[in-house]
Amino acid sequence: MHTFAYARPATVAEALAILAEHGPDARVLAGGTDLVIRLRDGSLRPRVVVDIKRIAELGPGIRVADGRLVIAATTVMAEIAADERVRRDFTALAEAAAVVGSVQIRNRATLAGNVCNASPAADTAPSLLVYGAEVVAAGPAGVRRFPVDDLFVRSGVTTLAPAELVTAIELPIPAGRLGAAHARRTRRRGHDLASVTLAVAVDAAGVTRLAYGSVGPRPVLVVDESGVLADAAAPDAATAPAFERLFAAASPSPRSMRAGPEYRLAMLRVLGGRALRTAIARLAGE
């Protein structure tokens, strides 16, 4: 591994100052489960690594504030997967967090890190999209809050400015009941990078929100407000076109080692259908 300087700011302000000073030569270190791999393989060669885990303002922790679930930036997957509120109100996120890597990985990997890496295959991204999660980012100009959907550009690239730091991920607590589920496809049953990862949420008003990843340069959110998809009793002839429309934005890469485009597109539909059925059943309290 090439060498770099290590900074351990105690406050967000300090962290921002370091990021501002070094610009793209600085990388934020949260869990390190992606960063350290890339430091070793040389695909990232920062001059300074900024460890945010000792910043008290950044948690770790999950709390409720102003009708939102606030997940601090250094909160790890294991905590999220085990959190009672997440499991109850954000089932698909709990399910996604529970399949990110192994126990060892989930004890280090953070939700904020998973989001900031902007991997198209990030397992938590679809669930964050369907729950309408927001990113809270601190920067030189202050704090801004914006939908996770506005963060992703393509693999490894986000709309964050180099001097911005994600301080939390916030999820609005749903006003009414939601049925939701996460589903993924991997090459083996043991932990693996997803060749398709998706989440579905259905609400009592019949709105279906589906998001999927690993089938294009960035995760995609699609919303169906027709009510037809959420209706388990709707005839196939009605649901089929609506269902098909959900996947129009999928464009899997033919270069992937994990699965071919044709298979990914087919699995998107299989898993989408299964997750939708699970979500509907959960909404019905089954």
Binding site: M1, H2, T3, F4, A5, Y6, R8, L29, G32, T33, V36, I37, L39, R40, V49, D51, K53, A78, G101, S102, V103, Q104, I105, N107, R108, G190, H191
Partner: protein, 158 residues
């Protein structure tokens, strides 16, 4: 070369202070600086679990943790699990159930199994298989490892 950084940590109950290069992982420092070679190096990408140690109450792949991140922390390695010269119940069960072939993955397996039983004293087979999936065994002792964990749980825990 960035200057070495002084860190202080507790390893297997013993306070250690040392200077580490910022880019050295906890795995490298344990093996090379502290001569705790029971923690093994294999994939270096957090996939195989051979380097599993306990850091501040949670198991981690020490190949993905920079040593400086462990500053102030408490680390337990395989060498610190059992009293000198003895075996934990779990370690004994690994031997009795035939969970050890070449042994190279075993320190990591034992650390992960120990953690599993701390979190879940009476796990189901499915919980064991999921909980141990971050530790590869190419000799293929998975069934025996599961048996060993269940046996240790049955007999009173780790």
């Amino acid at each position: 070369m960035s200057p070495a950084i002084p860190i202080a940590l507790t390893v297997n109950g013993r306070s250690r202070t040392l200077d580490v290069a910022p880019h050295h992982t906890l795995l490298e420092v344990l093996r090379d600086d502290l001569a705790l070679t029971g923690t093994k190096e294999c994939c270096l990408v957090g996939e195989c679990g051979a380097c599993t140690v306990r850091l501040d109450g949670r198991i981690v792949d020490s190949c993905l943790v920079l040593a400086v991140e462990a500053d102030g922390g408490e680390v337990t390695t395989i060498e610190g699990l059992a009293p000198e010269g003895g075996l934990t119940r779990l370690q004994g069960a690994f031997l009795d159930k035939g969970a050890v072939q070449c042994g190279f993955c075993i320190p990591g397996q034992v650390m992960a199994a120990d953690d599993l039983l701390r979190r879940s004293p009476h796990p189901t087979v499915a919980e064991v298989e999921e909980g141990m999936a971050g530790n590869l065994c190419r000799c293929g002792c998975y069934a025996q490892i599961t048996e060993a964990i269940l046996a240790a749980a049955e007999e009173g825990g780790r």
